[in-house]
């Protein structure tokens, strides 16, 4: 700030100032770096386009509207081989999202349980969890997926084994669940007429549980009285739905799997490819989440527990009301990365023949149309969007639990 008192006469802008004047130098460097980056990017893009045209290939997404001509076994939305490629890709995307949601849910449950148990004072429990965490997170997830698939397809009986007078295999749970090497068949609900009323009643009771939770919290803060929350909530969950179910004349029934022809028919068919992928991804990611949870809990000073105990809080309340809310602040940010990892790792599905986005758009569509670049670009874009949506959703949750400084 020496110039403040003794302003030299304005000599105008000189070119040398770009290098010697600290006010401009950083801008100069950034502009040069930016230009270099753009040059390299332009070179790569240009090179790609030239080489593609030398091979006689152009970039054209028109193939997405041609008939796909292949079948997909697991469909969340209806799809036949007459549908276009974009719909096949959409079926694949939904399968990817399904495995991502199922996987993240199970991985969180496994991770929280394993993380808490690893801190247990019980030596055996803690060591078993250590073995689980270390073995799963130190072996590549692809091997786990293949291992789960091998166990499911080689270790379980084929549907044929269920046939005959004296079958080699039998169904579980009073003939309602069939576990075969083609997948697990469980009873599925059949929605009859009037079933929508039951569903609405169920949704309303969920709303009721939420409202009751709010009220009981306020009640607790005002009076200090603890209500048997769990039992009341369970009652709200079950009683109205069951009442409506009988009043409406039992509109929802179950369809049970039955051996018909080559396969089981009826019920819900959870394919082994999905089960193997789901379990492997969940256990693998769960081992990372366990470590995150453990570190989150250890990050809370022991004084917090002691203070809670001194106030006379039960151990379960100490965990739920004092430790976990603070630990969540540490846990959530790395947890987001684990969710993203799981979602992206689901693209290994092809190894077990699970028809996800990678197997449809990046697999059969790519192979039959030969549009590698287009399919790859499209897939990268879709995975990017999905990941960004997940992380922005989790960031919103993170904002709600993080320390509010006033």
């Amino acid at each position: 700030m020496t110039t403040a008192t003794n302003t030299p006469e304005d000599q105008g802008f000189r070119l040398s100032q770009l290098i010697y004047d600290t006010r401009y130098r950083s801008i100069t460097i950034q502009v040069i770096a930016m230009l270099a980056f753009m040059l390299i990017a332009a070179f790569l893009i240009r090179n790609t386009i030239i080489n593609l045209s030398a091979l006689g290939k152009d970039i054209d997404f028109g193939f997405l509207f041609n008939r796909a001509a292949y079948d997909i076994n697991q469909q969340i939305i209806p799809y036949t081989s007459d549908d276009p490629h974009w719909r096949a890709a959409l079926v694949g995307l939904l399968n990817t999202l399904l495995i991502a949601i199922l996987g993240c849910t199970l991985a969180t449950v496994i991770g929280v349980v394993a993380g808490v148990l690893r801190l247990s004072k019980n030596w055996l429990t803690a060591k078993i969890m250590t073995v689980y965490v270390e073995s799963f997170r130190n072996i590549p997830v692809l091997l786990w997926i293949l291992a789960f698939m091998a166990v499911l397809s080689e270790g379980l009986p084929a549907p044929r084994a269920f046939r005959g007078e004296d079958p080699a295999a039998s169904m579980w749970f009073w003939d309602s669940v069939a576990v075969t090497n083609r997948g697990t068949y469980v009873p599925a609900p059949v929605w009859g007429s009037g079933s929508s009323v039951v569903v609405i009643a169920f949704l309303l009771s969920l709303l009721g549980i939420w409202a009751f939770g709010k009220w009981s919290n306020r009640h607790f803060e005002e009076t200090g009285q603890h209500l048997p929350n769990f039992w009341i909530k369970l009652g709200i969950l079950i009683v109205p739905s069951v009442l409506v179910y009988f009043v409406m004349g039992r509109p929802v029934s179950l369809s049970y799997p039955e051996l018909k022809g080559f396969n089981f028919d009826g019920g819900l068919h959870m394919r082994n490819s999905m089960l193997a992928l789901w379990l492997a991804l969940s256990f693998y990611t769960g081992s990372f989440i366990a470590e995150i949870v453990r570190s989150g809990i250890l990050a809370i000073s022991k004084g917090q527990t002691e203070a809670a105990f001194a106030l006379g809080l039960r151990p379960s309340w100490t965990m739920n009301l004092v430790i976990l809310p603070q630990a969540l602040r540490v846990i959530i940010p790395p947890l987001i990365s684990q969710y993203l990892n799981l979602t992206k790792n689901s693209s290994l599905a092809l190894a077990v023949g699970y028809m996800d986005l990678r197997s449809t758009l990046g697999g059969t569509t790519l192979n039959t149309t030969g549009r590698e670049l287009e399919c790859m670009l499209l897939m990268m874009l879709i995975y990017l969007i999905v990941s960004l949506i997940i992380s922005s959703g989790m960031n919103i949750y993170n904002k709600s639990v993080k320390l509010k400084e006033r």
């Binding site: 502009v31 930016m34 230009l35 753009m38 040059l39 332009a42 070179f43 240009r46 090179n47 030239i50 080489n51 030398a54 091979l55 006689g56 290939k57 001509a69 292949y70 079948d71 997909i72 076994n73 036949t80 081989s81 397809s153 080689e154 084929a158 044929r160 090497n181 083609r182 018909k260 022809g261 080559f262 396969n263 028919d265 082994n272 490819s273 092809l350 190894a351 023949g353 028809m355 197997s359 697999g363 059969t364 790519l366 192979n367 039959t368 149309t369 030969g370 590698e372």
Partner: protein, 341 residues
């Protein structure tokens, strides 16, 4: 504002200055300089292409690679094999990772025209079939409604399967698998009722089972699968070399030239067609840019088409395929070489 104009101008300059990558013009020159032919083959179909006990690739398709190497270098062993799954084969060829594919690839319109490949001929006329365990009690593909079918993804068989079941109004459950070996594992474990692929591969696969008698290949052949070697678009001379190497094997069988008598016949015969083939007469080799003994080298080192067939997949091998459509045209088959003239 000024800055962005400046940036834009520089970017444009950069775009204009970027140099085009020069493509090497001749595959033959590149192969000769490298001293070895890079050939894409199937990772493991017994009889067609599979590593033997010593890890060396052998088989009917592999012989096409060896024939081309023999034609170029006079040494059928100057080949580097690249095992390729069906999913990556065309990319590997287009990117120049391999010089040619001899990997039971079906010649189709879109693969030829849209994917910019040049199919140089057919070395095996095949069709898609179904294999089932005998105790399933199925005798026709028409009885397969509701079955679970193992299928390699990214192949024409996947599309044929969808069409066949659709046309016949049958339901099925596809179990996509990534490779031939994975398909076998799933099929043998009973994770699928049916395994479908080219009938030749089914026979090869059945031959490798512990208990081949327990499995049957159903009589229905649901598609035409002309399998043959291919090269990428854009180098016609290279395509000619691969095409005529295959034709030399086929013509040799037709004229009765075998690995045993080729050297003797190369001293000159009454038949001008044989003389031209073996380089006694004319300059056919030079026209391809090769040695005049190119076809002689193929026949002495690899054998003619019939010899290769009998050695790798014929009736006396575990694969046990009859010549059928793959007999010479003179024997009622489809194998036919244009004249060497």
């Amino acid at each position: 504002m000024k800055k962005s104009v400046f940036l834009g101008a520089l970017t444009l300059a950069g775009l204009a200055a970027g140099t085009a990558m020069a493509q090497d013009s001749s595959t033959l020159a590149a192969v000769k300089e490298r001293g070895v032919l890079k050939c894409g083959v199937n990772p493991g179909t017994p009889g067609f292409a599979a590593p033997d006990a010593s890890g060396k690739f052998v088989g009917f398709d592999v012989d096409v690679c060896r024939a081309v190497a023999a034609a170029i270098f006079g040494d059928s062993e100057a080949v580097e094999y690249t095992p390729l799954t069906s999913a990556v084969r065309f990319t590997a060829l287009a990117s120049g990772e391999v010089d040619m594919l001899a990997r039971n690839t079906t010649w189709t319109f879109s693969r030829d025209v849209d994917l910019k490949n040049t199919f140089v001929g057919v070395n095996y006329y095949d069709g898609q079939g179904f294999m089932v365990p005998k105790d399933l009690g199925v005798s026709s593909a028409k009885e397969l409604g509701g079955a679970t079918v193992c299928i390699e993804t990214g192949t024409t068989t996947e599309l044929n399967l969808a069409d066949y079941f659709r046309v016949n109004n049958m339901e099925y459950e596809p179990v996509p698998v990534e490779s031939f070996t994975e398909a076998q594992t799933q099929f043998l474990a009973g994770a699928c009722d049916v395994y479908t692929t080219d009938a030749s591969a089914l026979a090869a696969s059945r031959a490798s089972f512990e208990n081949p008698e327990g499995y049957v290949v159903l009589p229905e052949i649901i598609s035409k699968e002309p399998l043959g070697p291919l090269v990428r678009h854009g180098d016609d001379n290279w395509g000619d070399i691969v095409r005529w190497s295959l034709n030399a094997m086929i013509a040799a069988e037709e004229y009765g030239v075998t690995s045993a008598n080729a050297t003797e016949l190369a001293k000159g015969t009454e038949n001008p067609e044989i003389n031209r083939l073996l380089g006694v007469e004319g300059e056919l080799g030079a026209m391809l840019g090769l040695d005049n003994a190119w076809a002689l080298n193929i026949i002495t080192q690899v054998g003619n088409y019939g010899e290769s067939f009998e050695k790798n997949i014929g009736e006396n091998t575990p694969v046990g395929l009859a010549r059928g459509l793959n007999a010479q045209w003179t024997e009622g088959g489809l194998i036919y070489s244009p004249p060497f003239r």
